[in-house]
Symmetry: C2
DNA sequence: TGTTGCATTGAAAACGTTTTCATATTAAAT
DNA sequence: ATTTAATATGAAAACGTTTTCAATGCAACA
């Protein structure tokens, strides 16, 4: 049916081995190369990846598992990874867990079965904990989500520092009751919470914290209640863009003016962050760089499996907009 | 190195064939099944997909090529496709062309090399034209972007109707000079333009059209110029969310009030469409359904390659918000 | 001219599965 | 008890490549 290397060889009048060498970059005479390339063109031959990978034991493929594709942060990561892998001559096998640990586990198995050359993962909180129980035949790089000590290479933003920066900024604007809502299901939420607490303490203020799973409806309900209570904060930090959105809507629902009655500051610079009025103050993450560095880390690790562990911590950029500026 | 089916067979005390049968669902005795499953668990065996696919000539994989992952429309499509494929027991091989025809071509070759079981594509305008020159050994389904007559199964929204609906709505609100900005590089932009023109004509109005490649900066410049000119429209239809965003910013930059000085209506309901003030009137596309139906179309086509061509045309929902309501 | 060495080539083995085929076993039917 | 049919099993072939290995040809060198 489909044309194989043997057919090409026959037409070119050479052995299958020679065809393979032409295509795979072995040493061949110009004469043979030309004959083979002509035959390839004539037949429309396409190599069978399954066969190639089986025999050569090289997949030239990087796996990528992200937790939530719909989150623009991860779409940006995905794009960056794909583009960097492409430049390095590797393919990307992409999977989206939707924050579901079961699916995550399935996809990890999946990557093993595909025998990827390396794997980049943004794990769920649960997945992160159980990762150490796995044994992989390929290097694994954690992106965005990792604890302090991991047995893998890690590319993350400095969530501690970023959270502190937000607190400091809000305080410098004169806000005194700075609350925080943090995602309970991801490690980044936790880290941002810790940074927040430290900063609040070092300013002599009192931390006011809520932790929630990252669902919009629950978050908005909770925030509305908080905003209408007697001891409402005059500024609030949100650990992800979904929460930030909920805060914005909750402020509107309760009639609080931003930034006069309440300041809002969050994580991730999304298209709408600057579109709403006032614009939202956010930490912009170095997404492109994170993706690029993750690929580079995987490749380095493939090349030298025994090199010391790398932990690349990038800093975010605090983009100050109207939502946190007292006028 | 890695444990193979032979190792499992040896430990279980059966032949490799029996192991394969247990894992692949052949007929085996309960005794053998148990022994094999135990051995699999003991060894941590993971099948080698390359070998499996090579021998069985079945990949159980659906390819998906989208034009722009960063566009929330396509992320939603991607998610829907993945989830539907997962339910059908198939894997998804995902690629993003970034509207680049060269990359698109590369990925089409790529899919052939992977020998996917079926392929779902949202092609660039150029890719769409050249698709007929290819010959695929697997079914191909076009999603979102297709012309009237294609030689493939097609899942699209009715762009004509949707555009007409927007025009009709704006007119019913009393707007008289309804302009339109349409993407020049994708077929959907063209179709929406046609629908717009028809609707405008049938209302006895004069079409006022601009076509541009879909880049934010150019679009905003162009719109600002348009909005400041003497013959500016009092309402405008944008054929994609990037343009809609540009229109919003252009209106602000030129000091036009929405919806009093100018109404805005566009395509794709994004998170920020309802967050900005006023909310933007949009056509919400049935993304989840489109993704689901695309997978289902691929699978049906695999099962019966000679069934008549299917063209599924779904209708969008017109979500009316403040940006188009005269107060 | 006769060796040596290097570059090029083809035959055949190998990769880890599934599938075919023939055989052995069991159950059912007479 | 004997035959027939159905089922379970293992040996070996097959999938389409790459890679190894040995052989060939050619140029360079003594």
């Amino acid at each position: 049916m489909a044309v194989g290397i043997k057919d090409v060889a026959k037409i070119a009048g050479v052995s299958p081995a020679s065809v393979s060498r032409v295509l795979g970059g072995g040493s061949v005479s110009d004469k043979v190369r030309e004959k083979v390339l002509n035959a390839v063109k004539a037949t429309g031959y396409r190599p069978n990846m399954a066969a190639r990978r089986l025999r050569s034991n090289r997949t030239e493929t990087i796996g990528l598992i992200v937790a939530d594709l719909v989150n623009p942060f991860f779409t940006a990561i995905t794009q960056a990874v794909e583009s960097a892998a492409y430049k390095a001559g590797m393919r990307v096998m992409f999977c989206n867990t939707g924050e579901d640990p079961e699916r995550e586990e399935m996809y990890l198995r999946f990557m093993q079965e595909e025998r990827v050359s390396g794997l980049i993962v943004a794990p769920t909180a649960q997945g992160l904990k159980s990762l150490s129980k796995w044994s992989f035949d390929f290097p694994l790089v954690l992106i965005d989500r990792a604890r302090d000590k991991e047995k893998f290479d890690v590319i993350v933003m400095n969530n501690h520092t970023a959270a502190r920066e937000l607190v400091t900024h809000l305080h410098s604007q004169g806000y005194q009751r700075i609350g925080g809502l943090f995602g309970a299901t991801s490690i980044t939420g936790e880290q941002r919470k810790e940074g927040y607490i430290e900063a609040i303490r070092s300013l002599g203020l009192k931390p006011e914290i809520k932790s929630l799973p990252s669902t919009a409806i629950v978050a908005q309900k909770e925030l509305e209640a908080w905003f209408s209570s007697a001891d409402r904060p005059d500024a609030i930090i949100l650990s992800n863009s979904l929460f930030t959105r909920s805060a914005l809507m909750a402020a509107r629902a309760t009639g609080l003016q931003i930034p006069d009655d309440i300041a809002i500051a969050g994580f991730d610079d999304e298209p709408w962050s600057s579109l709403v009025d006032p614009g939202i103050t956010v930490i912009r993450q170095p997404v492109e760089m994170m993706g690029k560095e993750a690929v580079s880390a995987v490749i380095q690790r493939i090349e030298s499996p025994n090199a010391p562990l790398r932990r690349l911590m990038l800093s975010g950029e605090c983009v100050i907009r109207g939502s946190s500026r007292k006028r």
